[in-house]
C-alpha cells in the first residue's frame, strides 16, 4: 500500500510538472525515478534532510504541536500524572547489531539498507556479553538491520546463549534466510541455540507485502517460514517459538491484534501450510523513513491526529521503554529503539555499555517526544505487540 500511496502522491505532482514541462512522458519518467529512489536507498544514502535526527525531532515539535492544535506527549501524560515517565523493572535488553540490511522497507524506522555500514564490532559485543551475564533482564532481543548480516553474528549468538537468558529473541526479516547460500542453514542454527524467532510479515497476500518491503519479499518470506516450520519452529506446543510481526502498510493504525492473528493464521495455513505462534501488531512510529513517507504523501497531520485520538493512558504505564534498554551498534544506551534512531541517549550518568550500571540506569527519566504517541495508541504498541 505504501508504494501505491507514494505513487498517487507523486502523480498528484504531475499536473504541476506538466505545466512546466508540457511533457507527460517526462513527468511519468520522473514519477518512476522517484519511486525507484524511494525504494532502493536509505535516507542516509539519499542525503535526505530527514536522515538528520534533530530535523526529525524539530518536525515532531512544530506545526500542529507548536500551535496547540494537538497536545504534546508531555502534556498528554501529565493529565494522568504519568510525567515524568520512569522505568519499571528491567525485563528486556535489546541490542542492535547494525543498520545493514538486505531489504529497504518503505516504513523502516531504522533507515536500514544494504548501503548502511554501521555494524557492531566484536569488541562492543564482548562488552554486551559482560552485561548479559549479570543483567536482571530475562529477555535478550537482537535486532538490526538484518542482525544475521553482522559477520560476528553467529559467534555472538553462541556466546550469548551460554549466559542462560530465559528468552533469546532474534528479529529476522525472513528473506535473509533465502538471500544467500551462507544463510540457508539459519533455521538449524536458530534451533541449535533455542533462539526465539520474531519475523516481520506485513500481510498474508503477496501484493501488500511486496509493496511495503520490495519485489519478491513475499515469496522468499513464505519459503523461509516453511523452512522454519520444517525444523519445528512455530508448530503448536513446540518450544521453538516463531512469532510474526504485523505493521500496517500505510498511514493507518493496526487493527485488533487477536483478529489479525486469526486472519494471518487462517490464510497462511490454508494457502501455504504455514504455522506460527503469535502475531504482534505494531504501530508505525512517525520517525525516519515512515515520517518521510507521511510527509511526502501528505498524511503526516492526519496520522498524528489518529495517534493522539487513539491515545490510551493505560498503555502508558506498560509502554516498552519502561522495561527495556536499547543498545546501539556502537554501544550507546537508549530508552528504546526509536530514541536510538533519534539519537536521544539515556538521560543517565551511564550512557555507554562499557560503563553499564543497571541500578543507576533504572533511576533515569525516560526521554519523550511526540513520536511516543505511536506506542500509546489503542491497545498500545511495543516490540512484543500490544501492551494494554
Amino acid at each position: 500500500m505504501i508504494v501505491s500511496f507514494c505513487k498517487n502522491d507523486y502523480k498528484s505532482l504531475i499536473p504541476m510538472n506538466i505545466g512546466i514541462l508540457h511533457n507527460l512522458s517526462t513527468a511519468l519518467e520522473m514519477t518512476n525515478q522517484l519511486n525507484t529512489i524511494m525504494s532502493t536507498k536509505s535516507l542516509h544514502k539519499r542525503e535526505s534532510d530527514l536522515a538528520n535526527a534533530n530535523r526529525q525531532l524539530e518536525l515532531l515539535s512544530n506545526g500542529i504541536f507548536a500551535n496547540g492544535e494537538l497536545p504534546t506527549f508531555k502534556d498528554k501524560i501529565s493529565e494522568t500524572n504519568q510525567f515524568p515517565l520512569t522505568p519499571n523493572k528491567l525485563e528486556i535488553l535489546q541490542i542492535n547489531l547494525g543498520y545493514m540490511c538486505n531489504q529497504v522497507c518503505e516504513h523502516c524506522h531504522v533507515d536500514a539498507g544494504p548501503d548502511r555500514k554501521e555494524i557492531m564490532t566484536r569488541e562492543t559485543m564482548m562488552q554486551c556479553l559482560e552485561v548479559i551475564k549479570k543483567t536482571e533482564a530475562h529477555t535478550l532481543d537482537l535486532t538490526g538491520g538484518a542482525p544475521e548480516m553482522n559477520p560476528e553474528f553467529r559467534w555472538f549468538v553462541e556466546e550469548a546463549s551460554k549466559a542462560g537468558i530465559k528468552d533469546f529473541i532474534v528479529r529476522s526479516n525472513l528473506t535473509i534466510i533465502r538471500a544467500n547460500k551462507k544463510y540457508y542453514d539459519l533455521p538449524e542454527f536458530f534451533k541449535k541455540h533455542n533462539v526465539h524467532v520474531v519475523s516481520s510479515m506485513p500481510h498474508w497476500t503477496r501484493g501488500k507485502t511486496d509493496k511495503q518491503r520490495g519485489e519478491g519479499v513475499f515469496d522468499k518470506s513464505i519459503k523461509a517460514l516453511q523452512e522454519l516450520n520444517a525444523v519445528g519452529y512455530g508448530i503448536p506446543n513446540s518450544d521453538l517459538r516463531l512469532d510474526l510481526v504485523y505493521n500496517p502498510s500505510g498511514a493507518f493504525l493496526p487493527g485488533d491484534q487477536a483478529s489479525m492473528e486469526k486472519e494471518f493464521k487462517k490464510a497462511l495455513k490454508e494457502d501455504f501450510d504455514i504455522q506460527f505462534h503469535n502475531l504482534f501488531a505494531i504501530t508505525n512510529l512517525p520517525i525516519s523513513r515512515f515520517l518521510d513517507y507521511l510527509i511526502a504523501s501528505d498524511n503526516y497531520e492526519d496520522y498524528m491526529y489518529s495517534l493522539v485520538e487513539a491515545y490510551n493512558p493505560d498503555a502508558v504505564s506498560s509502554v516498552m521503554c519502561t522495561n527495556t534498554i536499547s543498545v546501539s551498534w556502537d554501544g550507546w544506551l537508549y530508552d528504546c529503539d526509536f530514541n536510538q534512531m533519534l539519537e536521544l541517549k539515556v538521560a543517565s550518568k551511564v550512557k555507554h555499555i562499557s560503563d553499564y550500571n543497571e541500578e543507576l540506569l533504572q533511576n533515569r527519566k525516560i526521554i519523550i517526544s511526540q513520536h511516543c504517541y505511536g506506542c500509546t495508541a489503542g491497545a498500545g504498541s511495543s516490540c512484543q505487540g500490544t501492551v494494554a
Binding site: 501488500k208 500496517p248 500505510g250 483478529s259 492526519d302
Partner: protein
C-alpha cells in the same frame, strides 16, 4: 480556506454533534457503536457492508472512514472493490427494475 461543502477535517468533529443535543447525540453514538460490535456478523463483515453503503449513500466522510477502517482490519483492495460492486449492482438494479413500471405504463397507455 477553500469554500466547500465538505471538509475532511469535519469528520474529526463528528462527535461534537452531541454538544447541541446531548441526549439524542449520545443515543445515536451508543447505537452506532453497538451496531458495529462483533455479533452474528463479524466486525470485519460489517466494515465491508459499511464501505459499500458509504458509496451508495455517496457520503465522503463515510468513504474516508470505512476505507481506513478496512485497511486497519487487513481488508484487501480486492475485497473492497467487490463490496462496492455489490452496492453498485443494487443501485443500478434499483434503477433498472423500475423499468418494469415504465413498461407496464407504456403497455397500458398504448393502443
Amino acid at each position: 480556506m477553500a469554500k466547500t461543502y465538505y471538509d475532511p477535517a469535519d469528520l474529526r468533529k463528528f462527535g461534537k454533534i452531541t454538544e447541541w443535543n446531548e441526549e439524542l447525540g449520545s443515543k445515536f453514538f451508543d447505537y452506532y457503536g453497538k451496531v458495529f460490535e462483533e455479533g452474528a456478523l463479524t466486525a470485519r463483515e460489517k466494515s465491508l457492508i459499511a464501505l459499500a453503503v458509504a458509496h451508495t449513500e455517496q457520503c465522503p466522510y463515510c468513504i474516508d472512514a470505512y476505507t481506513k477502517d478496512g485497511l486497519q482490519r487487513g481488508i484487501t483492495k480486492e475485497e473492497m472493490i467487490e463490496a462496492l460492486h455489490v452496492g453498485a449492482a443494487i443501485k443500478s438494479g434499483a434503477t433498472l427494475v423500475h423499468g418494469v413500471q415504465m413498461m407496464n405504463r407504456v403497455n397500458k397507455l398504448e393502443m
